[in-house]
C-alpha cells in the first residue's frame, strides 16, 4: 500500500485515478488506515468489495480463500481494459512497472509509435512500417 502511495503523485500527474479494492469491509479499511503506519500514507480510496462481485467480474477472485488475487488493472479513458497483471500469492507487485506502463501506453497513443521492450520516458518509439521490417 505504501509502495503505491509513494508513486501516487506520479500516477495522478499522468491523469490516473487510483483505487485499491479488497473484499474487506470499510470498517476493516478504516482500522487498517488508522493503525498501520504504512497505510496511513495512503492518499487513494480503499474500496470494499464485500460481496466479491467486483473481484468476480474482473475474474480475480480466488474462490478457495474468498479473497481477491493481487492484480493490477489499467483502464483507458474509454472504459476499456488496457492491461491486467495478476501476481502469485507470495509475490508483491513491481510498482515502477505500473508507472512505466501508463507512461508507455500514453506515449504510444500520442505518437502512434510502437513502444519497445524496457522503454522508459526519453527513449524513442519504434515506427510501424513494413519497409523497416528486418532493419531494427
Amino acid at each position: 500500500m505504501a509502495a503505491v502511495a509513494a508513486v501516487y503523485p506520479q500516477l495522478k500527474k499522468l491523469g490516473a485515478v487510483v483505487w485499491a479494492i479488497s473484499t474487506d469491509s470499510v470498517f476493516s479499511h478504516k482500522v487498517f488506515k488508522d493503525v498501520s503506519p504504512l497505510a496511513r500514507r495512503v492518499q487513494y480510496p480503499l474500496l470494499s468489495d464485500r460481496n466479491q462481485r467486483i473481484s468476480r467480474a474482473y475474474r480475480v477472485l480466488d474462490e478457495e480463500s474468498g479473497a481477491t488475487m493481487r492484480a493490477t488493472i489499467l483502464i483507458d479513458p474509454e472504459g476499456v481494459i488496457v492491461s491486467k497483471l495478476v501476481y502469485p500469492e507470495e509475490v508483491g507487485r513491481n510498482i515502477p512497472e505500473i508507472v512505466r506502463l501508463l507512461e508507455a501506453i500514453q506515449f504510444g497513443r500520442k505518437t502512434g509509435l510502437g513502444v519497445p521492450a524496457n522503454w522508459v520516458p526519453g527513449m524513442p518509439g519504434v515506427k510501424r512500417d513494413i519497409r523497416l521490417a528486418g532493419t531494427i
Binding site: 485515478v17 467486483i54 475474474r59
Partner: protein
C-alpha cells in the same frame, strides 16, 4: 512421445468453443459502484463516473498484507 501422439488434439475443439468473458486486455471494464474509505469518510465510488480518465485498480487480498 507415444503418449503425446495418442492424446487427442483438443486445440481444434478449443478454437471453435466461444471464449468466455475473461476481463482481460481489450475487454470492456465491468462497471461497478462500491463503498470506499477515504480521508476518514465512507464514500460511493462509481467507475462510470471516471469515464475520460485513466483508472488503475489495485486488487489486493486483504488489509494488513503487502500490496
Amino acid at each position: 512421445m507415444d503418449d503425446c501422439r495418442h492424446t487427442p488434439d483438443v486445440t481444434k475443439l478449443a478454437a471453435e468453443c466461444p471464449l468466455p468473458f475473461c476481463a482481460t486486455r481489450d475487454d470492456i471494464a465491468p462497471l461497478f459502484t462500491a463503498e470506499g474509505y477515504i480521508n476518514g469518510d465512507v464514500k460511493e465510488f462509481c467507475l462510470k463516473d471516471q469515464r475520460g480518465k485513466w483508472v488503475i485498480l489495485f486488487f489486493y487480498a486483504s488489509d494488513f498484507t503487502f500490496v
